[in-house]
Amino acid sequence: MKLAELRTRLGYQALLLGGVALLTSAALAFAALLTGPEIKAAEEADLKQSLTQVLPGSYDNDLLKDTVSLHGEAGEVLVYRARRTGKVEAVVYRVTGYGYSGAIVCMMGVSREGKVLGVRVIKHAETPGLGDKIEPAKAKWIFDFDGKWLGEPPVDKWAVKKDGGVFDQFAGATITPRAVVKAVKGGLVFFEANRAALLDEAGGVR
């Protein structure tokens, strides 16, 4: 058989590998073009949903377009601003804590008065059954932050009860809530430090 003989040639094998690589990358590039906009739209919808979860009330601007990037303690922080008739009423940004097994990423909403509007954990790898009580689906714990600010409780009480603070820890897991409390507190400190820039009120314009 002719093909069988051809298959043993080095040149044929090199061409075959090259051809397969070319065809598959072409297929992938084509698929990426085809699905790219849809994936982007779906991810934006996801992001919007996670933003509105920590933003009670109604706003009249496009949150995803009204952003400002500020320098926080751990690098750049992308802040989404929610406005009503041009005035920034609330800001939303991500804060990260380090729990029992790596980063815990939270989305937090803060009102212009500096009060927590809501916190949601958007990514974590804590132990199922112990540390995952930070998810709203598993426990109500994460709602404890609603309405809190750096004056209520006082700054030195922003800790879990075991450390002399006011926030509950879970049975069998202290590291996880401690990390979340610390992250949220850090988020509020960040808000106070950058209040003017966050609220878009530098120099009293607007």
Partner: protein
């Protein structure tokens, strides 16, 4: 002909099951089976890739030189997985949010390369397609069994969150087996996966041996009679 299809089906589902007999793909098996629903999702996604990869590999088997077959198969499988990943992400995003993590894991599923190498590269397209489908369903069966066992023992439920995977029409699958269950964390964690797998393997072997003994006894009785 029918007998051959019957054999392929039996091998895929039971006697040469990917997990219970070949002991392949243990990494995704142990990683995702904390609930029956997760097992089902991973199983179905793997079945889709396995079916397509077997069809493609079988249809190009004459062209591929034996010397370079492994890289060719790997590139083909990786491409399929990436295509599936992108398609699900774009068009069924809700499902993707549940399955997303598992889909990337399919690339490291050696069962797919194993079937391409040991079956699809030596058989016709129809046989390879059936083999891929049956091996995939057998894998799904194993994952659902393992996930169900761990979920019942670990959290006292079965098929929790099935509506996220299959749509709200399948919410009836979600059952609480043990009400007010305190949870048995060990079964949800990785060690529980190893233990549950061990018990299931032992059970399968006992069952297979009993069946073989019975078949032998019947054969002996027939000869004696």
């Amino acid at each position: 002909m029918n007998e051959k299809y019957g054999r392929i089906t039996r091998e895929g589902l039971w006697s040469n099951n990917v997990v219970f007999a070949q002991m392949l793909a243990l990494c995704p098996t142990l990683a995702v089976t904390s609930t029956a629903t997760n097992g089902l999702g991973m199983g179905l996604a793997t079945t889709a890739v396995l079916l397509l990869s077997n069809i493609i590999v079988s249809s190009v088997r004459q062209l591929v030189s034996p010397e370079v077959r492994i890289p060719v198969y790997i590139v083909l499988i990786a491409t399929l997985v990436t295509l599936l990943d992108m398609a699900l992400n774009a068009w069924v995003h809700e499902l993707y949010k549940v399955l997303g993590l598992f889909i990337a894991l399919i690339v490291v599923n050696c069962a797919i390369l194993g079937r391409a190498e040991s079956f699809a590269s030596k058989n016709g397209v129809a046989d390879a397609a059936l083999d891929g489908l049956m091996m995939g369903l057998g894998f799904t069966l194993a994952l659902v069994a393992l996930g169900g066992m761990r979920e019942i023992l670990g959290s006292g439920t079965l098929f929790s969150n099935a509506h996220l995977l299959l749509g709200s029409a399948f919410a009836f699958l979600e059952t609480t087996i043990v009400p007010d269950y305190k949870g048995f964390l060990l079964m949800i964690l990785p060690p529980g996966g190893f233990m549950a797998l061990g018990f299931l393997l032992a059970a399968k072997r006992v069952y297979d041996r009993r069946r073989a003994e019975r078949a032998e006894a019947v054969a002996a009785a027939t000869v004696a009679g």
